[in-house]
Amino acid sequence: MSLTDEKVFDLEKKALAIRKSIITMLIEAGSGHTAGPLGMADIFTYLYFVALRHDPKNPSWEDRDRFVLSNGHICPVLYATMAHAGYFPVHELMTLRKFGARLQGHPHREWLSALETSSGPLGSGLSQAVGMALAERITAGRTSPKQFYCFTGDGELDCGQIWEAAMLAGKEKIQNLTVVIDRNNIQIDGFTEDIMPLNPLADKWRSFNWHVQEIDGHNFRMIEEAFGQARAVFDRPSVIIANTIPSRGIPDFEGKFEWHGKPPQTDEEKKTALDALRTLSGKLKNEHSTL
């Protein structure tokens, strides 16, 4: 079940294209979030191109899996991945945050109907995913093939509502629910462990009766393994703590909380970002030159 080298190369290329789209759309928009979207690009790529059962040409397909983005501010990666997966034209990404655009500054389900929900205000996505999974269980029973996915930030875990939902999902043993935490160690005011320490994070979720895995969120083989395990768990909800590097792909911006909520703005910043992604393209080709 492990990914072939060709498949990994293919996913890495896709993730790079998505990162390029994220940066160009943010530059065009003139505002928006850089760190989270770049850090989650690999996991989004895996979700939309491997894990999710969905049909971009028929987004309202009833039997689709459900994906809830709880940390709505990272929507540039959501939009870019959806565009590359075929939900809408890639050039529409250039309308991000503009008046009248479907790609609202934070996801709005009414404007972009392929979304399962609207988000932006933190902390309420997990509750909605739990609600969806509970509804499915009432309708179709525990053997429903539908999977429910929810992505959250790590700073977002400061919100009490997350833990209210975690407690409920543990109590209800929602086995077809997988949460991925973007463990990038930053939030707006600084590093998470300075602002509101979360560690020991895995123990917290374990004590709420969740199945817990910790992975490198930039390693497609580990992502594949973790998603597979999460689906296999039959008596508990699953959480994947994905260690990611904020602004991954642009070394000058990586790891810095200052890049949480702004796009490259000065000419120098724009050049730094675009050059870094170009370098990454070259590297990727070299690494896989034998394929």
Partner: protein, 333 residues
């Protein structure tokens, strides 16, 4: 003309009028308040820079508590600190505080009657590209309806600074509404400010009587002034009342204006229902019913766009104020 008694910024109509974000006035006011009174403490939910609490944090690090993204906790921890004699200021975006933590504010702050001061930044559609989830346009309504809560909506950074100082000195739970974008400076250091007092800031020249009273609050007061100036050039005379304190409303000032003009236009960057428009209508329905036209958001959510695009789209621009004034004149008996 500008009311000379108010000692307003004489450059208010010029193109190079100084502009500052209203939230910046809050940040400076909090610093002054904290220097004057050591009971003042500050709590923030992971938005210390953008709510301009960073000035306070830098000067008084031991009186600052970082709460993380936890607005409900923010409100009730502040209540606990107030119970111990502190004067807590709590900040976030208005959408999340007082948006998310309304019941905590109602019970643990207002029901308990403790002097917690809530500063909600990024109010109104002028937040812009972040979109509808982040544009608080119901905050005046949800704060105004809670017994004991004082609601202040400053029109510029200077008024916000004075409001913050005044709030620190008052025993009441207080909500201060702040906007993100730069806003023209209307008032000066010499302009009077008292919680609960509204002021006429623009009136016709000489003995000319006003045809309409415009009652405005917050960041849109400047547009009301510009509209008033333009109207006077077309022979339509208005008075502009700046309502910085929405609750308790200066009912006498509202009543007097209605009595004199027999027609009112309210202006706010907020839902009409429950906002300043609602407050003025409640007051005049009892004391002196006259026709009212409302400038504000008409029961819809905001969206992404530039602040100017959104103000225009939702019908809160100068031209909309001018149209509303003309319309209300036609409705006069």
């Amino acid at each position: 003309m500008l009311n000379p008694e108010q000692k307003l910024n004489q450059k208010v109509f010029s193109h190079d009028v100084e502009q500052l974000p209203i939230r910046k006035g809050f940040g400076e006011g909090l610093l002054f308040a904290a220097e004057k009174d050591e009971r003042v403490v500050g709590l923030c939910a992971d938005l210390t820079d953008s709510t301009v609490m960073n000035l306070f944090k830098a000067k008084f690090p031991t009186r600052f508590i970082e709460m993380g993204v936890a607005e409900q906790n923010l409100a009730s921890v502040a209540s606990g600190m107030a119970a111990m004699g502190k004067i807590p200021f709590i900040t976030s975006y208005a959408m999340f505080s007082p948006g998310r933590n309304w019941e905590q504010i109602r019970t643990t702050i207002c029901y308990n009657n403790v002097p917690v001061k809530i500063a909600g930044s990024h109010a109104g559609v002028s937040v812009g590209p972040d979109g509808g989830t982040h544009q608080a346009i119901e905050d005046i309504a949800i704060m105004r309806v809670i017994p004991r809560m004082v609601v202040i909506s400053p029109c510029d950074a200077i008024e916000a600074r004075k409001a913050t100082l005044a709030a620190a000195q008052s025993p009441d739970p207080t909500y201060i509404r702040l906007a993100r974008e730069k806003t023209p400076i209307i008032t000066t250091e010499a302009t009077p400010f008292t919680i609960g007092k509204a002021h006429i800031i623009f009136h016709p020249e000489g003995t000319q009587k006003a045809d309409v009273g415009i009652i405005a609050t917050g960041a849109l007061v400047h547009k009301a002034l510009v509209a008033a100036q333009k109207l006077s050039q077309h022979g339509i005379f208005v008075k502009v009342l700046n309502v910085a304190t929405i609750k308790p409303l200066d009912e006498e000032a509202v009543w007097r204006l209605a009595h004199e003009t027999k027609a009112i236009v309210t202006v706010e960057e907020h839902q009409i229902k429950g906002g300043l428009g609602g407050a003025v209508a409640e007051c005049l329905a009892v004391h002196y019913p006259v026709p009212i036209e409302f400038i504000g958001v008409h029961d819809v959510f905001g969206q992404s766009g530039t602040p100017e695009e959104l103000i225009e789209h939702y019908g809160m621009g100068e031209s909309h104020i001018i149209t509303a004034v003309r319309k209300v004149i036609l409705r006069k008996k």
